[in-house]
Each structure stands twice: as structure tokens, then as C-alpha cells.
């Protein structure tokens, strides 16, 4: 597994890790805090070189998983291996992974360069050499000329970059990111999403990214694991998770799907199964407008029209079933709450799920 590069080589010129094999493997891993089952019998394989997201609401076990990989927590049962090496009982300072913390966790008593080179100093590297590597890492995250500043003097986005450089300079086999963008404002968050993805691609490094933001997870990841109550309910590419949710929870948590009970689905002309129906698959017409052939229909009353830029979110009540549709603004220009409307969709848009978590 050992890829030897000389210290003077820059990051970008030499990918840190070749991308084959399994980076992290969880086998029946459980971690309980008293009666709370934070992680409950988890199996997972994260491939080397992929951008892997752990997505879920707070308390779903995703951060605990990250901490298990980093070594801050030890599993109560099961086994974790990093690049096929079991890591049971191995303390965090002996693991070849590094973490970008949610609050960045920069050392307040050290300047930026000393923060970034902390790991190298611990390894006993000389000052000149480690500062050279530290500056390279800072250049990699586009933060130049801040070497002697202290963390409190930087903006949130800049601190974020320092935290990233501080982790990357140690050339970890896996980079763990714990909701690193949570504290940034929207614009900066979108910028960092693009940069993180580009960085990951150019380094070829395995990124494990924890987030509760489904948009973030879907836009950056090669694969996503959706967490709920200590379990992984679905793993797949963003397309798979979004378009073919396996459970009610995934359908609702990722993209806010309409979930139809089997009886309701049958009433609308679909299969008698638990169904996910994406809001953007539903078209909205005024009641009485001739319907297209081959589509399924439901008529109802418009309850609310929400402004969403170019789109409108229409919430309708169809004989006691609440449906949500996302449509182009032009299609519902004159629609007002209280009006009778007709909703339609293609039968193929009704995705059958297993009932479960």
C-alpha cells in the first residue's frame, strides 16, 4: 500500500493514494451510549479514492461513525478496518486518518503556520522542512500570506481552509470531514463545495463527509449513505438514493418526496405498494383542462402556493391526501389557494419501496 514520494514533491503532482480496494470497512459495528444505540450493527464498505457522504438527521449515528473511524470512540461490538488493517484498540494518534472538525478545532495559541505544521512537528520533522510543507498545504487551499495570524483573526471560511490544510499536510489515507461547511453562510458554502470536490478529485484521496444537508451530499458525493436511528437505511450513488429511495425515511429525508400508503396508491391507479412520488414529477392543471392520456390523475384543492424562485411548490389536498408538487412558475401563474386543481404524473414516476425505517 505504501506509495513513496519524496517530501519535496507537491501534493497536486502526486496523488496521495491509489484508488483501488476498500478504504474503510465496518463489520457489524455497534456503539451504545447507555441505552442509546448511536450505531447499531452497521455494515459498510467505503472504497478507496471515493467521495463518500454520510447523510442523516442529527442523532442518526453518522458523526459517531466518523469518530469510530478516527479512533475517538471504540466500538462495543463488531470490527472496523482501515485499508484492510483492523484498528480495534488503536488510539487516534496511531491512525492514518485525519479529521476536519465541525468547529475547526484550530489551536488558539498557535499561529496559522504552526497550526498547519503541528502534525509534522509531532513527527519530529525539522522546522525548515515542515514549514515548507505547511506553506504548500496552505497554497493548496488557496490561503497565502496568513502564516503568522492567529485563528481568531480569520474569517470562518479561512479557518475552514486552515483546518483542511492542517489535516491534508499529514497525507492521511482517509480524510474525515465532520459537517465542515455547517457554520458557513450559503454563498461560501457553495464555493467550498466546488473546491472540496475539486481537491478530492485532484488528490485522489478518500473523503468521508458527514452532513445533514441532503443537497450538499447529493451534489458532491460519489456515494451516499443515509443514516437513521443508528442504522444505514440506504447506500448508493446520489441518483440511486434520490430517484429510487428504498424506504419511507429516505424518500422523505432526501428531497422531501410524497409518500403514498399502498391503499392510497391503489386509489390513484398505482400498484398497491408503498410509493414514493417526487414533487417535480407531478404536473398541476386547473380543474377541467383536458388531461393527457397515459398519465395518472388526482383532483384536489390547492392549499398553498409557495414561491421558490423559478419554481413554485404547490400543496394540494386530494380527498384527504396531501400532495406536494414542484412546478415551473409559468404553469401556475394564476393559481390561488382554494381553487380546484388536477394533478397528474406518469405511472413510472411511482417508485415502489419496502416499508421500513
Amino acid at each position: 500500500m505504501s506509495v513513496h514520494t519524496r517530501p519535496q514533491d507537491t501534493f497536486a503532482a502526486h496523488p496521495l493514494v491509489s484508488s483501488n480496494g476498500t478504504a474503510v470497512r465496518f463489520t457489524h459495528v455497534a456503539r451504545h451510549f447507555g441505552a442509546v444505540k448511536a450505531v447499531d450493527g452497521l455494515d459498510l464498505e467505503i472504497r478507496a479514492g471515493e467521495f463518500f457522504s454520510m447523510l442523516g438527521p442529527s442523532g442518526s449515528g453518522k458523526t459517531t461513525c466518523l469518530r469510530l473511524i478516527a479512533g475517538f470512540e471504540q466500538p462495543d461490538a463488531g470490527e472496523i478496518s482501515i485499508f484492510d488493517e483492523p484498528v480495534a484498540g488503536i488510539p487516534p494518534y496511531r491512525r492514518a486518518v485525519n479529521t476536519v472538525f465541525q468547529d475547526y478545532a484550530l489551536f488558539p495559541h498557535l499561529n496559522i503556520l504552526d497550526n498547519v505544521t503541528y502534525g509534522l512537528r509531532i513527527r519530529g520533522m525539522g522546522r525548515a522542512e515542515r514549514e515548507k510543507l505547511g506553506r504548500e498545504a496552505l497554497a493548496l487551499v488557496k490561503l497565502i500570506g496568513f502564516d503568522t495570524r492567529r485563528p481568531p483573526q480569520l474569517s470562518g471560511g479561512q479557518r475552514q481552509r486552515v483546518a483542511l490544510a492542517r489535516a491534508l499536510v499529514n497525507r492521511p489515507k482517509v480524510l474525515l470531514l465532520d459537517e465542515p461547511l455547517g457554520a458557513l453562510d450559503l454563498k461560501l458554502r457553495e464555493e467550498m463545495q466546488v473546491e472540496l470536490k475539486a481537491l478530492q478529485r485532484s488528490l485522489g484521496l478518500t473523503f468521508i463527509f458527514v452532513t445533514h444537508d441532503q443537497g450538499e451530499a447529493l451534489s458532491m458525493s460519489d456515494r451516499v449513505a443515509v443514516f437513521n436511528a443508528g442504522h444505514i437505511v440506504q447506500v448508493g450513488t446520489p441518483e440511486e438514493v434520490y430517484e429510487r429511495p428504498q424506504t419511507r425515511f429516505v424518500a422523505e429525508f432526501v428531497g422531501g418526496s410524497n409518500v403514498l400508503e399502498p391503499a392510497v396508491s391503489a386509489r390513484f391507479g398505482g400498484p398497491e405498494r408503498l410509493i414514493s412520488l417526487r414533487p417535480e414529477a407531478i404536473a398541476v392543471r386547473s380543474s377541467g383542462v383536458a388531461s393527457e392520456i397515459g398519465r395518472l390523475h388526482a383532483s384536489g384543492t390547492c392549499i398553498e402556493v409557495q414561491y421558490q424562485g423559478a419554481m413554485r411548490r404547490v400543496i394540494a389536498d386530494c380527498a384527504g391526501v396531501r400532495l406536494c408538487a414542484l412546478v415551473n412558475a409559468a404553469e401556475v401563474r394564476d393559481l390561488n389557494p382554494g381553487e380546484r386543481i388536477s394533478l397528474s404524473w406518469l405511472p413510472a414516476a411511482m417508485h415502489a419501496m419496502e416499508d421500513g425505517r
Binding site: G71, P92, H109, I122, R166, A167
Partner: protein
């Protein structure tokens, strides 16, 4: 937005603060009086000669030296014990934690005379003769809480993830303590040490029970107050004590300014 303070409130506050601060000004004034036999006010004349007299008194020097030594040793002991206790209690939850917190505060929460006589009865039960160390034991016991409180306040303000970040970057526990925890805790420990020193340097109640025939500076002053020998020398010593306690307390304040009250004193 905010209404002005009423005149009555201002007067009440002003008089209260005057009441708190004026008496010490008189002590300083009396150090310069030419009157030897009484506390005559206003002083008939002013002189610097009592500073010279106090300077040449071996009993003052002996008491001052003993107080310094006791305070230094008690502070070092309190620093070690208080820091360890803070490390154990700042961010953990375990059965008995509350009881341990109470145990640390108890020596200053109970009246000093209780601590004093308790130590004395223990020494007498075990036939331990009074010595330098019996004084130190008493002082260290009530100084622990001061260091502990300062250290706990700082540890709770410190982001817990910086310790994890240090582990994550390859540092072991001892390196993490040396390179991350200690630099962040440093000023709080220094402030705690200053306050502990001031507390010990000034302590009289517990000391009367644990000193035997030895005389710390406060004991010396107490003897002078009960049976005055040379009043002007006592006045000068009082001024020295004011200065020696004022400086560490002021330093402690500036070291922990952002954290609010460092700790309440017994």
C-alpha cells in the same frame, strides 16, 4: 433606551463603595504618623522613620519569611492537586462527581474555625507535633479550590475538540498535554496560583490552630493587635501586607479578565 440611574441609587452606591474602600486608606495614612502611643486622628505629624524601624526588626523579617515559605509550598501543592482535580472534573460525568466537587469546596465553605479545629484535633489524635508542615497542610487544603475553580473555568471555555484534534494529528496524551492543554491553561493556572498565594499569605484563622509557637506574618499582626507593643511598626507591616496581597490579586484579574469572577473567597 436605558433609563438613567436615580440620584438615590447613585448616592447609595457611592456611600457603599466609600465604606468598602476608605478604611484601608487610613491604614496607609497611619504608617506615616509621628504619634506612637495612640491612634490619634488627625496625625500630629508625618514621618518615614517607622519604615526604617520595621526594616530593622528581626521578628518582622522572620514572620515575613515564614509566610512566604508557607505560601510558596502551599501554592505548589494546591497547583498540582487543583489542576489534577480540574482535569478530572471539568468535562466528565461519573457517579460521585458532585460529591467530589463538594469535597473540594468544603474547606472554604465551612467556617475557618471548623477547618482549623478539625486539623488540630487530628494532629493531636495522631500526636503530630506542630511544624512548618502542619501549617502548609492546612493552607494547601483550602487553596486547592482556588486553583481548581480557575482551571475548571478555563477548561470549560476551551473547545473540547482541540484536544481531539491534537490526537488526530498524531500527538499522544503527554504531547497533547504539553503542546495544547498546558499553553491554553497556563494563564488560568498562574492566576489560580496568585490567588492561592494571596489566600495563604493572609490566612490567620486556620493558622492559629496549626502553627503552635511559630509566627507567620498574620499571626504576628494578630499578636500585635491583641497585645500592642510598638503600634507604628504594626501600621507599616499592615501597609506591606496590603501591597503584597494587592499585586498578585491584580495580576490574577488581568490574567483571567475574559472569564469573569475568578473565584469567590471564603
Amino acid at each position: 433606551m436605558r433609563s438613567k440611574a436615580s440620584l438615590g441609587l447613585k448616592i447609595g452606591t457611592g456611600l457603599g463603595l466609600l465604606f468598602l474602600h476608605a478604611p484601608l486608606a487610613f491604614v496607609i495614612l497611619y504608617a506615616f504618623t509621628t504619634e506612637e502611643r495612640s491612634y490619634q486622628f488627625p496625625p500630629p505629624g508625618l514621618t518615614l522613620k517607622w519604615f526604617g524601624v520595621a526594616w530593622s526588626r528581626p521578628d518582622v523579617w522572620n514572620a515575613l519569611t515564614l509566610s512566604f515559605q508557607v505560601a510558596a509550598v502551599a501554592t505548589i501543592l494546591a497547583l498540582v492537586l487543583g489542576t489534577l482535580a480540574a482535569g478530572a472534573l471539568a468535562r466528565t460525568r461519573f457517579f460521585g462527581r458532585e460529591a467530589i466537587s463538594l469535597l473540594i469546596i468544603l474547606p472554604i465553605a465551612l467556617p475557618g474555625i471548623v477547618t482549623g479545629i478539625a486539623l488540630r484535633s487530628a494532629f493531636s489524635l495522631m500526636d503530630i507535633p506542630f511544624s512548618f508542615w502542619t501549617i502548609v497542610v492546612g493552607h494547601a487544603t483550602f487553596c486547592v479550590v482556588v486553583v481548581h475553580n480557575n482551571a475548571v473555568a478555563r477548561l470549560r471555555r476551551m473547545s473540547p475538540s482541540i484536544v481531539e484534534a491534537s490526537y488526530d494529528l498524531g500527538a499522544d496524551s503527554i504531547q497533547t498535554f504539553r503542546y495544547v492543554i498546558l499553553p491554553n491553561l497556563g494563564t488560568a493556572l498562574l492566576a489560580g496560583a496568585m490567588l492561592a498565594f494571596a489566600l495563604s499569605f493572609d490566612e490567620v484563622i486556620v493558622t492559629t490552630f496549626t502553627a503552635g509557637q511559630q509566627s507567620t506574618l498574620p499571626i504576628w499582626m494578630l499578636n500585635e493587635l491583641v497585645r500592642p507593643r510598638q503600634r507604628p511598626v504594626t501600621n507599616v507591616v499592615a501597609v506591606i501586607v496590603i501591597i503584597l496581597t494587592f499585586l498578585p490579586i491584580l495580576a490574577a484579574y488581568y490574567l483571567t479578565r475574559e472569564e469573569g469572577p475568578a473565584s469567590d473567597r471564603p
